[in-house]
């Protein structure tokens, strides 16, 4: 029988180590962002994406060379899940939105004459410069708005100290998630923005549960040393934090393994986010409260309520 209840782990004791660890990871992420940058998919970079399925295996390098003779700029060809499924990416063409449309036809014609097998066009996406510009903007705005909304909500429900701690943890999670995409150079596209927003929600969810307990314990143990109190609160909620993370990860892993190639990037981001989010609520959000001078006198009505 699994029992994580009643633990008395001294999480705050390792806070210097975990803060340093987080700082290093953040540093690495920001570094990778400026050195490697994000590998933007066509959603944000514009261009054309064609997924094909062929009846026979195709030699990729030959096909790539052939497509590169079309003078369409950078053409990437990669396997997608199996050796008969190929993903072809053509970079955005100069000359505005209308020009992008011709690419599909050119590539399709070329594939038809170069490959002798049956070709099944599974997916075609063409994103022009106007839309890709808007998507990247609205994606960035959405993440900012989400983080800001969390800041306001926690401020409203708790106190500014909690709100600040939670948002710092949140920014930590977002930076680390973007960082892992910079380092791995996995494609960063629209669903990844959705994943980051969900991570924002999930990580906040985790943090709120811990903070809720901190607040409750602040009312209950008025003279307890803050470090002990934070430790107690993390331990009180540890079992829940782990169980929920495990169930969520179980579902996500299943999706990652069996859910198909199209949403793999999305699921990867979510898995990473859940791990980072869980870590940050225990090792970042809660320990931060120690430095934020949390108020110990809560309003009288609730104080009376909790002194029973």
């Amino acid at each position: 029988m699994l029992n994580i209840s009643g633990t008395q782990i001294n999480f705050l004791k390792v806070r210097v180590i975990t803060f340093i660890l987080s700082a290093i990871l953040i540093f690495l992420s920001i570094g990778a962002f400026f050195v490697n940058g994000l590998n933007f998919g066509i959603d944000f970079k514009g261009g054309t994406l064609i997924e094909i399925e062929t009846s026979q295996e195709i030699e990729i390098s030959g096909l790539r060379d052939n497509l590169n003779t079309l003078e369409l700029g950078d053409v990437q060809v990669q396997e997608f899940g199996s050796s008969k499924n190929l993903l072809i990416r053509v970079e955005q063409q100069l000359g505005g939105d209308q020009v992008q449309q011709d690419v599909v036809q050119i590539v399709k014609d070329s594939l038809g004459s170069y490959l002798s097998t049956d070709i099944n066009f599974r997916r075609t996406e063409v994103v022009g410069p106007k839309v890709s510009g808007e998507l990247i903007q609205s994606g960035a705005i959405a993440i900012f708005v989400a983080v800001f909304a969390m800041l306001v909500y926690i401020w409203f429900r708790f106190e500014w100290q909690f709100s600040l701690g939670a948002v710092l943890a949140l920014v930590h999670d977002v930076i680390l998630t973007i960082g892992v995409f910079c380092i791995t150079q996995l494609e960063f596209n629209l669903p990844i923005i959705a994943a980051i927003l969900t991570i924002v929600g999930y990580s906040m969810n985790d943090t709120v549960v811990v903070y809720d307990r901190v607040r409750e314990n602040l009312r209950k143990y008025r003279s307890k040393e803050i470090t002990d109190l934070l430790n107690l609160s993390i331990n009180d909620t540890l079992s829940r934090t782990i169980v929920t993370s495990v169930t969520t990860l179980l579902a996500l892993l299943s999706l990652f393994i069996f859910g198909g190639e199209v949403i793999k990037g999305f699921t990867f981001a979510m898995i990473w986010g859940v791990i980072v989010g869980t870590y940050s609520s225990i090792f970042v959000a809660a320990p931060l409260l120690r430095y934020l001078d949390v108020k110990r006198e809560w309003n009288t009505t609730s104080a009376v309520d909790s002194t029973r």
């Binding site: 209840s5 075609t124 839309v131 669903p191 959705a194 169930t247 069996f258 198909g260």
Partner: protein
């Protein structure tokens, strides 16, 4: 918290059963559903284009063209009025949105005349009432004429509405299955075409403005088609549709335009067996065409489509019947498409394709299959894990989870929300997160027991204490889902929908259904039921 009145039990179960009923149609084929009684819900989940296969196109009306055209018309109107009043003007400048010139003797009378002419010419475009559409400012002899912002806005808005209508007609003509054509923002159109994974033909149909005109060929000048000299005033040089290098010189004046067509049909020329498009004019068009052809027998006229000459036949005799045919070396599909375009009418401005996303039916089916399989595996894993951790209570939470999953499906069907591939991911994520509310409660119960409460009180207090935490925790996720909903479109939006529905149903089931199950067993509850060892 554990006591449920019969009324409460009844209402909780009713809500659940009704929601579940809405999920049922998804497990039957369309034919089977026909045999169900009338009162039974029959709506199935709406599958997104990424799951059922289809094409999504985002178009933009080229609004600059519209404004340019309006300014050009204004330009002609103003010059006409100035000429009529024998005013000499100089430094005539046409900019993006205004006209500017220097003239002597410009007065309020002429100003009024310009306004009235421009208004009457704009009346058929839009009804502005008595409002003027021009702002005329005069500084000594310099006159500047602008359109009012209101007029520009109205013109654009009208052109977009008109484009929407024409796009709809063109697509309907092709007999596409349940297309969805919607306006987005001020100048965009979203087209969703289920079942079409190669929208090339539609794209080419939408890529043409299809402005058809009949213009006389200017025979007054000697002219080399491959090396044209400058066109005289009142004429223009146009390229042939078949051969870009071959030019025609045609009179700018339009004999008849495509707006006077009432019908166009593809067919074959009985003599040459060549594909043609035969057309019929309305009464005004027929009269105009008859008159011009009568006066110009023996001369060629050009049939011009989108500024390209399709053909330039010689008028053998006056064409008075109001019908004719176009032959231009098309194949039968081209003839068919041209007929569609002419029937549907010309677009007021060109359409630009900003985005295309097409998914073949295979990929959609594969995605559904993979999604379902992943959901089942994830589901089983979570169920086993919950029983492992919380024993009997875990089992109750699992029952709630199953109910929860069907409720999500039911709500999706009820509101006819669109299920997309990220939407399936949202449901799977919900499987993982839905148990959270129960986990929070069970952990509280455990704690209460460890602190010495008896089982009944522990459960009672567990629910009470967990409530605010559960609300806070879920509201944060809900905020993220709502932001995502407003920011995203298409498949990603589907994710925010299932995520949000999942939050509601999981909180609902935790607080009603699981609690109900526990309360029904209240008397027999023991600490080990929640996963605590007996000596804890």
């Amino acid at each position: 918290m554990l006591y449920f009145s019969n009324l409460k039990i009844f209402s909780v179960l009713t809500v659940i059963i009704i929601t579940l009923l809405f999920a049922v149609p998804n497990f039957f084929g369309k034919d089977q559903l026909e045999t169900f009684p009338n009162f039974f819900p029959k709506k199935q989940v709406n599958l997104g284009l990424d799951l059922q296969g289809g094409s999504h196109l985002l178009l933009e009306v080229d609004t600059e063209e519209i404004i340019k055209e309006r300014v050009e018309n204004l330009n002609a109107d103003v010059r006409r009025v100035l000429k009529k009043n024998n005013l000499n003007y100089s430094n005539f400048k046409v900019s993006n949105e205004s006209l500017k010139f220097i003239v002597e003797g410009f007065n309020s009378e002429i100003q009024k005349e310009i306004s009235e002419l421009s208004m009457s010419n704009s009346q058929n475009i839009l009804a502005m009432g008595d409002q003027t559409n021009l702002i005329i400012t005069q500084e000594e002899n310099t006159v500047q004429i602008n359109f009012t912002e209101e007029f520009i806005k109205q013109s654009v808005s009208n052109a977009v509405a008109q484009s929407l209508e024409i796009v709809r007609r063109r697509i309907d003509e092709l007999g596409t299955r349940e297309p969805s054509i919607q306006r987005q923002g001020s100048s965009r159109i979203i087209i969703q075409l289920p079942g079409i994974d190669d929208p090339d033909r539609i794209k080419s149909l939408l890529g043409q403005t299809a402005k058809l005109t009949f213009q006389l060929v200017d025979t007054s000048v000697n002219f080399d088609p491959f090396n044209p000299s400058k066109a005289p005033i009142g004429s223009e040089i146009l390229a042939s549709d078949a051969d870009e290098e071959f030019k025609y010189i045609v009179k700018k004046r339009i004999m008849v335009g495509g707006e006077n067509l009432v019908d166009a049909q593809p067919g074959f020329d009985p003599q040459t067996n060549e594909p043609i498009v035969s057309f019929r004019f309305d009464r005004i068009g027929a009269t105009k065409f008859g008159r011009v052809t009568q006066q110009n027998v023996g001369k060629p006229f050009a049939i011009v489509l989108d500024n390209k000459v399709i053909s330039a036949p010689v008028i053998r005799e006056a064409i008075l019947g109001g019908s004719g045919q176009i032959s231009g070396g098309f194949d039968s599909e081209e003839a068919n498409d041209l007929a569609i375009l002419l029937r549907a009418g010309a677009l007021p401005a060109p359409l630009i394709i900003l985005e295309e996303r097409s998914v073949g039916p295979d990929l959609g089916a594969d995605s559904i299959e993979a999604g379902q399989f992943a959901a089942i595996i994830g589901f089983i894993a979570v169920i086993i894990f919950m029983i492992f951790v919380y024993r009997y209570f875990g089992l109750l939470a699992d029952i709630a989870l199953i109910i929860n999953l069907f409720m999500v499906l039911g709500v999706l069907s009820l509101f006819q929300a669109t299920l997309t591939l990220p939407g399936i991911a949202g449901i799977i994520l919900t499987i993982g997160m839905a148990v959270d509310a129960n986990v929070l409660i069970f952990e509280r119960v455990k704690e209460e027991i460890r602190n010495g409460s008896n089982m009944m009180n522990a459960v009672e207090n567990g629910y009470k204490r967990a409530l605010s935490t559960i609300l806070d925790a879920n509201i944060t996720t809900l905020i993220a889902a709502i932001i995502l909903f407003f920011m995203a479109s298409g498949p990603v939006r589907g994710f925010s929908i299932t995520l949000a529905i999942g939050i509601f149903t999981s909180v609902f089931t935790a607080f009603t259904f699981t609690r109900l199950l526990i309360s029904l067993n209240a008397k027999r509850l023991k600490p080990n039921f929640v996963g605590l060892s007996k000596n804890a």
